[in-house]
Amino acid sequence: MIRVQGLRKVFGRQQVLRGVDLDVATGEIMIIIGRSGGGKSVLLKHLLRLLRPDAGAVLVDGTDITRLRGEALEAVRRRYGVVFQGGALFDSMSVFDNVAFPLREKTSLGAGDIAKRVEEKLAQVGLVDMGHKDTAEISGGMRKRVAIARALVTEPEIVFFDEPTTGLDPILVNTIHRLIQGLHRQFRFTAVIVSHEIPEIFEIADRVAMLHEGLIIETGDARSIQNSTNPIVQQFIHGAVEGVTHAA
């Protein structure tokens, strides 16, 4: 279980997180929604311990990862898989090598076992016989799939997705969502997904949290969020230009 308690972060004079509280249960798909610049990516970077908060805690199964360093932090991160917004694929490597990289570096598996596992993961994301391709040669949708395959190849317990469908066409958006849902059913990992894809993302959500101006203002299942009486939530999910908040 991941528990975020009173998380605060200030950059210069801008208070990005103003006391975020959030619980993510083991095995659930938690979607974090919110306007651009609302602090979603900063929150995600705290969950990954790429940033340290000014105040507050991020507890992973009771361990406050904001205080961890070195081997203890690496032990927590070994339980993680991350799909970055742009994929963050290593552009000096082929598709196969990208997916194989975490196995080569962090496990004692032999070359044969690694090849088998990589091919298996590439097949699960619909990229059979694509391993030889250079990452510069593949499309945006394929990049996301490779990133998902790389994130899942070590069979992590917790997978973070940072806007996994940004920049993709509607068909690919639904394809990636179904892929995540299917893989989640198969492997039962805990998923934290930052997304803008509304209402499509609600179809795969167990719970949804709305982050607004550095605070979680509403949490609940997809239906309760869609039926929320909070005017900020309503404005956001309907994309209304006029309302409580204004376009930046």
Binding site: R77, F84, Q85, P102
Partner: protein, 269 residues
């Protein structure tokens, strides 16, 4: 009675100057601290296994082999220009026999290590900064971190070790091509005897001169990858951030090469 809530706008001008000076000093000290800490971390990781041998070989190829042609070319022309100017100058006082030692010592002690370091900075150093900068802004560095892998071990340590290996070798190649460039002009074109060129060089230049050049090249071999990886690692956002970091890396490296060259030249025998 002073108004404690007074903002910076309301403070007297001299106080604001002192405040700005203090802020600037703090920024400078902090930057030096971060810069030193970066090298300290990389140096510590050199001695903690596993060493990424594959990446090290790749970096030696990237910094060393890819710079070879330009180092040989510039070395030859530097030696030729030096040979020509020294010959013409010494000819006025009838001492053209000393062209060999003048070219040899100038190249081995000063020009070899400095010019090699400057050219490698322009070629490989700038590429190193740009590569790391792009990795930073495309979250590839973050990806390494969340895979529980230390980006310093993968990206910085191999570059610094490769610098330590490649810079002395490139400097030696620069020196040799430069000496033969001087030979081409002084002996082949201007008619100095080959025995005089090399004989006098052998008589005046010794191992101490070679070692001065060697220590300088080792120092620059750490300095250039250190500055270039640091700037790439800490680059700003977007293409502009990478471009800015690359320019800063090249300029800072070149300035530090010249500064360190002077101090090393003063300290070394």
């Amino acid at each position: 009675m002073t108004d404690e809530s007074a903002g910076p706008e309301t403070l007297p001008r001299p106080v604001r100057w002192v405040e700005a000076l203090g802020r600037g000093t703090l920024y400078l000290v902090e930057s030096f601290g971060r810069f030193g800490n970066f090298l300290g971390q990389a140096a510590a990781l050199i001695f903690v296994p596993p060493l990424k041998v594959g990446r090290l070989v790749g970096r030696v190829y990237f910094i060393g082999f890819k710079s070879l042609t330009i180092v040989m070319l510039t070395g030859a022309f530097t030696g030729m220009a030096l040979g020509l100017q020294v010959f013409l100058t010494l000819q006025r006082v009838g001492s053209e026999a000393f062209v060999g030692p003048a070219v040899g010592i100038a190249l081995v002690r000063e020009l070899g290590p400095v010019l090699t370091a400057v050219f490698v900075t322009g070629l490989a150093g700038s590429a190193l900064t740009a590569e790391l900068g792009i990795m930073r802004i495309t979250e590839q560095v973050d990806a390494l971190q969340v895979m529980a892998l230390n980006p310093m071990r993968y990206l910085v340590v191999p570059a610094i070790l490769a610098g330590l290996i490649a810079f002395p070798l490139l400097t030696a190649i620069f020196d040799v091509t430069g000496i033969y460039g001087g030979y081409l002009v002084a002996v082949i074109l201007l008619g100095l005897s080959p025995g005089t060129y090399f004989g006098q060089m052998h008589a005046f230049a010794d191992m101490t001169d070679v070692m001065v050049g060697f220590w300088k090249s080792l120092c620059f071999g750490v300095l250039v990858p250190w500055v270039c990886t640091y700037k790439g690692f800490h680059c700003g956002h977007g293409a502009e951030g990478v471009a800015h970091a690359t320019t800063e890396a090249v300029v800072l490296s070149c300035v530090l090469i010249l500064v360190f060259n002077y101090f090393l030249g003063s300290v070394l025998p």
